[in-house]
Symmetry: C2
Subunit: 701 residues, 2 copies
């Protein structure tokens, strides 16, 4: 994104709405730019002033006798359009619009924002904001914001959708001694969004870790693509709030309601290697860890401690977060046994005991670092009479340097007596916490990221043979002409079948004779169902008869259903009666699809049958992630249905490949036809050989 | 526990093993006692010295010319018994044994510890330790420990099973500005344990909050009783580690394996109102919250913020932890609408906007505090140009004082610019955090505690009529005589039935004629099963025939089974064949029992059938908590089985009262007969009317 150079490395900056008056935003921005050590030209713009803070003032952008790379706008909302146009004429490359009063105030503001965006695109200007705090870059350096504090130089790029959180973090970062490469307040994200800034930061040589606080993502697929690419270069850590709103939405009895859109975020982040933080503290703990530490080769953690309690706590947390306690090589255990006191713990955690000086830490650390079964090490120090925290820190640093591929973390649980040792570690790039728990959260994050980096590229097997789009289009066309959004069962089955999904034969019959013909053709037993989008609960109105074994019974059932439905619902005209072949019961599965606003089709898979909503044994993936059999089997394996398919308690295994194929075809189907808003196959029967979609529901828009 | 007075408020203390030599524990203890401002008499004991640190030294305890209330022992392990005996003769009331080398070093040490304990009880001395750091009381004051730091006075009693964690926390507490009433290092807990000290702290007027770090509990039932009583007086907060060890143990396919003993702790803590912390940080956050805050009347939280982002984060966490976002009264909303700017958030969270000074906070806080739908309030402050943190703090303090029953918490997200305001709050007793999340964890803890305080005493309905212990004893006697620990199906059913659990009729027949007689009596259809503790999978050896409808079929089936089993397992002698009445299928439930080492019988309830291990839809309670129908229905309601029993998707509701009764009877049964080590009813069929235990398994010891 070379176009962002104008924002982060401008040759010249105009401040439109610059002011002499302390307390005004236009004054704060001027002050900040000057104080930041910015080396380019600064042009305050204000028709009423001749100079501001000692810098010559111009009455308008067009009056500036030189090129302007970036303009920071802090003028009333009503003037923004005019100023932006003037900037366009002046060939300004980028705007940072601090002014509020756009989308966030409602319809009127939204209209203004749209006009502004159009204008920017006409003049080929990129825009940050509106309604933002501005941006900072510590390497240019420039502070084009109204924040009261400038940043310490560092390697973290921080993007925040909340201006308040950005200001709070800037304030807090001084106390926490955090350094940043750049900081961006995203504001309303009318043009540039976190996606653009993630892409930019991925290419920024001064940035090692990309940190985001966001409340929504506007273009899900592009986010996945860009963040996924960025994450291959450097870690992208996101704290996304607004989880509970989604939770509140979920109320429908449809399987989609099992999802909630926060799940789509979770799924998307995992897909593109984004590490998700779950609190502000975690966001910054992870930032520190990622900016300082190597990425571990695996999930096997060794713990070295001088006390039992913290060792147990660490073990608990390592297991709870899904990491492994390393099992040492025989040689390591023997050496530890031979050289540590008899009461020492020589397995993992290694307990060098409370009376340990630096020598025991040194020895134990050396041994576990060189053990090939260890991927990362956590050193715990509690203050005792003989603890040598500073010396232990030097030992840890030497060990880290000797094994640069193995992350070492520390938790020095204490106060003043350990402060110097802890500070030594933090200062020299070993993350050091007060308690063990956050260290392990960070190790978990590093490990997840390592897995993403190491994952082989997955071949895209989605292009399928034998897909018949024409049939689908014809079915959708008929339904649309008939003003129906919910397809009839027979239509849904026909469409799914056209995508190679094996469905139980189902035919719409309008006369008893047609029904008999269909039944004879598909073979008995069959079920007859009244077909009408107006009837929600067919069984309640006598609209379903199962277990029909002969032509005569079909004839009789047809008439019975017609009569019964007419009796219950005299005003409902039914389309006819669907004749469906009854399949022998198999393992009942469900495949569902809801369309997430941000990320597109979200596929659900799990145990089916009437208890699906009760058991909630469902795994989710974005359709875009279900590229091949391996990915799909991974998804299936997250559910209890997997155990059943593999053959539970002596039952014969079911046809896993056929199940995988149906999921793959469903993902392709709903991707090819964005007009499908919801789809459910429930149940899909899985047999020893093959599968059968017994009930397919499709809603189109 | 008046007997602990000798530990915490001794009139005189002897330090056996006192030393002149800095670095020695006997020196540190002497120094600490003297430096703590202890006002009683101190007697250093050391045959080689005449004075230590200016205090006259005595050669032995018996040589001290006055009474001794407490003796602190820091002598080699080999001398401890002799010294303790001398103390006993001297009528010392309590010992604090710092010396290590007991249970923690293995068999030899354990033997020594047992002798020591016996000796203490002979002389009626209470003992803290051995293998501990000692104890402190800030109000006596006394520091009878070898910790380097003394405490700040405060209202927290802290008991720690880990000496290292105790030392670490003491060190850290200075930085964190925490104060304590007393601190106890529990050591090996040979005599006095956390239970005794919880009881003591509950009666200590200087203690407001009781804090524990523990790794195990030795006497579960007594813990529940004592902690439950203490929790009615003041909060007891426990961080219990060792969670993952339990997790590793769980491997059996038995339902008990669904539990893991950490679950027994969880269940026990909930039962006795103990608040469980999940990390060291949480332990101390909760300590601060509980020592400063009122207990809320309910779970409805109002949030007042000057920025959207933190408001969303708070909302997320409130919902995730199971608290409620308060829904304001109409009047509150109207007043907020009339008096706050148009863009302000007037529902919950109340967003007073980034440009809010103290006035808006004052108004909003006033309104939500007086709203009767609000039980507690969280105030969020982010630094903006106009934020007045100190003034806002004063406002919060006034609000807190005006509504003493409603807890107010704060999160000031920032650094230096908010520090003074935040410090003001913390100093004046309003818990103030940097980020919203821990504040909400604390509100959750307060609310759980409030629920415990408000819970009505539950009537004990466990005494049941119609219980026939003689039959049970007879059945157990026969099995024991026969050297069997696993009862036959017919025996288990008979025993369960004797406790009023409705079982499907089952009779052991040794001849075809007996089988026919039994079948005729119970009615058809019946199932026949080979009866032998040696056959684990009866179906595999042709040992089960179902759906038998006549006497002739019974006769035939009896012989078939005998032949088949003999063919497969020629060496197994079977007891006979069990004839069981086949019950129509109902909702399949499971009731299971495992006996927890610490807490006794742990009852499991959930969905039954062959998928029980797969679905893991199980709730757990200690049998001691299942005192009446209300408690049992609470337990059932935690499972998906509850939804089924209530009548899922139009199915008829099942006989909830009968299910409750079986659980109650099972709890009583396993409590009355501690020799039952495991018990399973799977399935229990629940019908519209009544229930039937189809398969009962009982293991005795």
């Amino acid at each position: 994104m070379a176009e962002l150079t104008a924002l982060f490395r401008p040759q010249s900056v105009a401040v439109v709405g610059a002011s002499k008056q302390p307390g005004k935003i236009g004054n704060a921005v001027m002050k900040n730019i000057l104080a930041s050590g910015y080396r380019g030209a600064v042009y305050p713009i204000n028709p009423k002033e001749s100079e501001i803070l000692g810098v010559t003032c111009h009455p308008s952008v067009s009056a500036v006798p030189a090129n302007i790379d970036m303009a920071v706008l802090s003028v009333p909302a009503a003037q923004v359009l005019a100023v932006a146009r003037e900037c366009g004429e002046k060939k300004v490359k980028a705007l940072t619009i601090i002014t509020a009063g756009f989308k966030e105030i409602g319809k009127e503001g939204l209209d203004l924002e749209k006009k502004l965006l159009l204008l920017c695109s006409q003049y080929d200007m990129r825009m940050l904001g509106p309604n933002c705090v501005g941006l900072m870059d510590t390497h240019t350096p420039i502070n084009a914001s109204f924040a009261a504090t400038f940043l310490s130089k560092g390697e973290i790029a921080f993007l925040s959708q909340s201006g308040a959180i950005l200001l709070a973090i800037l304030d807090w970062s001084e106390t926490a001694e955090l350094g940043f490469s750049k900081v961006v307040s995203l504001g309303n994200k009318a043009d540039l969004s976190e996606i653009d800034f993630i892409e930019d930061a991925a290419n920024d040589p001064y940035t090692r870790v990309i940190l985001c606080y966001i409340e929504d993502i506007v273009d899900g697929p592009r986010f996945i693509e860009v963040a996924g690419r960025a994450a291959k270069k450097k870690p992208v850590i996101v704290f996304k709030s607004g989880v509970s709103q989604a939770g509140a939405q979920a109320a429908s009895s449809h399987t989609g309601a099992l999802a909630g859109s926060d799940l789509a975020y979770d799924t998307a982040f995992e897909q593109c290697g984004v590490i998700r933080a779950h609190s502000m503290t975690e966001l910054f703990d992870l930032a520190v860890a990622f900016s300082k530490s190597a990425i571990p080769a695996g999930d096997r953690v060794a713990v070295v401690t001088n006390s039992g309690g913290p060792g147990i706590i660490a073990t608990d947390n390592i297991e709870m977060l899904g990491l492994q306690m390393a099992r040492f090589e025989k040689n390591t255990i023997e050496e530890l046994r031979a050289n540590l006191p008899q009461e020492a713990g020589i397995y993992n955690p290694v307990d060098v005991l409370g009376d340990a000086g630096v020598d025991r830490y040194e020895f134990a650390l050396q041994k576990v670092m060189e053990d090939s079964n260890v991927d990362s090490v956590l050193v715990l120090v509690c203050p005792t009479a003989v603890t040598q925290p500073v010396e232990v820190s030097h030992t840890i640093l030497r060990a880290r340097d000797a094994y640069p591929g193995k992350p070492v973390f520390a938790a020095y649980t204490g106060g003043q007596s350990l402060a110097k040792g802890a500070g030594l570690l933090s200062g020299a790039g070993v993350p050091c916490f007060t308690f063990p728990e956050p260290a392990i959260v960070c190790l978990k994050g590093l490990n997840s990221y390592g897995q993403y980096l190491n994952a082989r590229a997955v071949a895209d097997e989605r292009v399928l043979a034998g897909v018949d789009q024409k049939t689908v289009k014809a079915v959708f066309y008929d339904a649309t002409r008939d003003h129906r959004l919910i397809l009839l069962g027979s239509e849904a089955a026909e469409a799914a079948n056209a995508y190679g999904i094996p469905t139980a034969p189902i035919v719409l019959a309008t006369t008893p004779e047609e029904a008999v013909e269909a039944a004879d053709k598909m073979g008995y037993p069959v079920v007859l169902k009244a077909s009408s989008p107006k009837i929600l609960h067919k069984t309640d109105v006598g609209g379903v008869i199962v277990g029909i074994n002969s032509a005569a019974e079909v004839q009789k059932a047809f008439i019975e259903i017609m009569e019964s439905v007419h009796r219950y619902l005299p005003k409902v005209v039914i389309y006819g009666i669907e004749v469906q072949k009854m399949k022998e019961p198999g393992t009942e599965l469900i495949i569902g699809m809801t369309r997430d606003l941000q990320f597109g089709p979200l596929i659900a898979f799990g145990l089916g049958g009437i208890y699906v909503n009760l058991l909630k044994d469902v795994a989710f993936r974005l359709a875009s992630d279900l590229k091949n059999a391996k990915k799909i089997e991974e998804m299936i394996s997250e559910t209890k249905a997997y155990t059943l398919l593999k053959g539970y308690r002596g039952e014969a295994p079911k046809d896993m490949a056929a199940v995988i194929d149906v999921i793959r075809r469903t993902a392709l189907f709903v991707t090819d036809f964005p007009e499908i808003t919801e789809m459910d196959i429930n149940p899909l029967f899985a047999y020893k050989k093959g599968v059968s979609a017994v009930d397919v529901k499709i809603t189109i828009s």
